[in-house]
Symmetry: C2
């Protein structure tokens, strides 16, 4: 394996010998953008429709113990490699969806394999601690090397969590607690507060609220779900608090042709945010913060300009409330910066940034004034899993060593320009090419066309997903290269041509 | 290691040779209750106060990036073994708390080490799937061997989740969805429902409620927290829905002396449940279910009789609503049965049973009528982690092969009788010895005494935790033996004597 992967390395003139940072093979030189995709095939290999008969049979079997309707195909994780996912029927697909945006380095990355095999890490894979009570010896070093080394500028505190929804829930709690602490002006909570909170009543459980946006997705636990407004399948039948919901801008594309209209649209939405804050404050249901995705990932890849987010921050500062970016889907480099909100040139760091997916562990970064003052308030049994943080530590190193953010930017630009070119050719069928880095999307004319495309592309060896009602979303890992874009575009043209004729 | 551990095996007359199911050493016979605790020390080893100076320094360092106030001590997971936890200062403690009840087989169990090292499992430690979309090839076999092999009688369906709170949240959602589906009588949801749910309003987000109990703990995300009523530290400052909260019985001990009083107390609480259901139904905030812990774990180890739980089930049947047992803390054998509610001889299986902690993965079992009808409604990116299910598969095998439930019962009886004996001697200081299996508790006369005991016991080599305001809770792993109880009781007497004099 090492020999054949070494052959694939891009080599330059020699200065000194050191091991390939990806596959650990000794070699003479690796450029900053070495593309080690050990064992990755040259192209997709399709033997059956996807899903094939074996996946279908397994799906039916799984359906006897849970609803298996969302299964795309059963996956052979042993045979998946780099940008390619292997299914139960012997098919190999180029994966531009990557477990719903959650594989930072593709499949079976040699460095992550080494991490799991490393005897020094064994105890943390075998023994899952209650991290807030009995943290492992090396925990602070792990936090530094993994999470804090990737922290957004200005955010020096971090709390791990198990998943995205829990991360959002605990951001909410941090905002509520901080707001109430400020309201108390340094006084301890009253006996009435301590008693009433146990029976869900004010003043202990006050009627605080958070502003979220139309088409937002922040997760599916009750607090996270209360800010999710993307699809009925997430929401229907579940009781939810009435919190202020502002509209998220609906921009027109291409951006340079609609500057005036888009600015007016963003101003309209910003005015709505201000009105809602005023309204809910007057209703004695004070707003403690604004929660927003830098790019709405589930609700249709909706974007807004830096101006919009800068203005949101101004609103939070004016009202002395928190600005929370939910970067569960956008974080960890997919947009070409480690955190998507770094594209917005904010005056100050945001107050909270939640993460999960590509970060392998859930959690959130937060500014110092949001630090809980009492032990046990941001807490649960596991609060994450150090074995995931160990893996993330290696991911952080590989991103840096291989300058993967640069690669994401280059590949992303190539993908966007390729799609923009296609968009002109298939006018009326596809539109609104947009994105940052390789976090890219394009719209089809209707949901049926989008769904048809995803199905046909899969049968031709490309795995992709949708967002919103008629959007195709690209969520590749950070190791995607231009050559993969070429393979995708071939399939794209072949499917779309058939649909366009 | 294998040689020395083999020496510790209890051996009987030989019939044939096979490998020790725990440490894999070839040996001639292992009894059904073989106690392989490879490398486990013979007794605690204490060099400093616990926490010692190194733990204190690390805690202070961690405090710069998050509130570290709940850290007990930093832990050396490499050196922890079996029932013993090793800390940063070279101390070895007998651990009767086991990461807040979450280690089924103690530390570094040889079989779990083998599982992580097994090359066939590697891909699932390296590549975490979006389980509901791209499940691994062997997923159904894993579910069968691990989760379904441990399922409560009558519950044939299972959904994995990442943690306990998520499991409770998704039980809530299952109850809400099922209730609404039944209300619709087979009709699909209306357009008004599909639209209104996106903005958190009825009829799409109806004002449904669930009955929970005083002193309950069900987790800390917003839905789970709405049913948690144990301590202010969980609740304060967080907005919460007004849902019906009934009182949980407060039994008097010893049980055989207070039969009449306890029955009256349980009847009082049951009447309250019925009144609340009627009241909330009339308020047009219909109750869809009752959520209860078989033993309240965080709120003070409060227990009720089988009669109480049978009556609760009768109430749910009469009202055609769901009965949910939250077995996050009580599940996986700690009470001497795989599930604590099996002690209650219910007429029918409960409708939902949530789990986490010792099960290593979160999730819930549910009856067939709670199966979601649409894909994607009980869903998130990861819905758990197959690497945890692989470990659980091995746990399930070890529990069965070594008849650990029998061991739990025997050790538990020994622990309870030892505590009852002590309770007579230290009347006024300790009382209310209670529990099932090794899921045992005892009360101190006040919070200060309980906290003092925990601190002093730790300094003498026993790690334990509290629950409620003045309860000491035992949450050992399933491999606890009578010899460990003896070691604990020696420390118990030595600390309590000093407090009593």
């Amino acid at each position: 394996m090492l020999a054949s992967s070494a052959l694939r390395h891009f080599r330059k003139s020699v200065t000194k010998t050191f091991p390939c940072s990806t596959c650990l093979a000794k070699q003479t030189f690796t450029s900053h953008a070495t593309k080690c995709t050990a064992k990755e095939p040259d192209q997709p290999l399709i033997k059956t429709n996807v899903p094939g008969p074996r996946s279908e049979a397994l799906k039916q079997e799984l359906g006897t113990v849970q609803n298996s309707g969302s299964v795309v195909f059963f996956t052979d994780y042993d045979r998946s490699q780099g940008n390619y996912i292997a299914d139960a029927d012997g098919n190999l697909l180029l994966d531009l969806y990557m477990q719903i945006a959650s594989m930072p380095l593709g499949y079976n990355h040699p460095r992550l394999i080494q991490t799991v095999k490393n005897a020094q890490n064994l105890a943390l894979f075998v023994n899952r601690p209650a991290l807030s009570c009995f943290p492992p010896l090396q925990w602070m070093i792990r936090l530094r090397n993994a999470l804090l080394s990737m922290a957004p500028p200005g955010l020096n505190s971090v709390q791990t969590m198990a998943c995205g929804a829990c991360s959002v829930e605990n951001c909410l709690k941090s905002m509520f607690m901080t707001y109430q602490r400020q309201m108390r002006g340094g006084k301890p909570p009253s006996q009435e507060e301590l008693q009433s909170c146990l029976i869900n009543e004010p003043p202990g459980c006050p009627n605080l609220t958070v502003v979220s946006f139309s088409n937002a997705f922040h997760g599916r636990t009750m607090g996270a779900l209360s800010m999710t407004h993307a699809k009925w399948v997430h929401k229907l039948d579940n009781p939810q608090p009435i919190w202020p919901i502002a509209q998220f801008p609906r921009l027109q594309y291409p951006l340079d042709q609609f500057e005036r209209e888009n600015r007016a649209e963003e101003d309209r939405c910003l005015a709505m945010v201000e009105e809602l804050i005023e309204k809910f404050n007057k209703l004695d249901r004070p707003v403690v913060g604004i929660c927003v995705e830098p790019i709405q990932g589930e609700g249709g890849d909706n974007m807004a300009s830096p101006y919009f987010f800068q203005s949101l921050q101004n609103i939070t500062k004016k009202n002395r409330i928190s600005l929370m970016f939910d970067e569960v889907q956008t974080g960890c480099g997919a947009t070409g910066k480690m955190w998507a909100h770094e594209h917005f040139n904010l005056d100050e760091p945001p107050d909270l940034v939640s993460f999960s997916k590509k970060m392998l562990t859930g959690g959130f970064f937060f500014r110092d004034h949001l630090m809980p003052q009492e032990a046990g308030r941001i807490f649960n049994t596991w609060v994450g899993d150090p074995s995931k943080v160990i893996l993330l530590e290696e991911v952080a190193k590989v991103i840096k060593e291989q300058d993967l953010l640069k690669q994401v930017n280059e590949t992303g630009k190539y993908l966007i320009s390729s799609l923009e070119e296609a968009q002109v050719k298939f006018d009326g069928l596809i539109s609104r090419t947009r994105g940052l880095g390789t976090h890219v999307a394009i719209d089809f004319k209707d949901p049926t066309s989008r769904d048809h495309f995803i199905k046909e592309a899969r049968n031709k060896g490309i795995n992709l997903g949708g967002s919103g009602s008629q959007t195709l979303r690209f969520r590749p890992s950070l190791i995607l290269e231009k050559k993969h874009v070429d393979i995708f575009m071939d399939v794209f043209y072949s499917v779309v041509k058939e649909m366009y004729d």
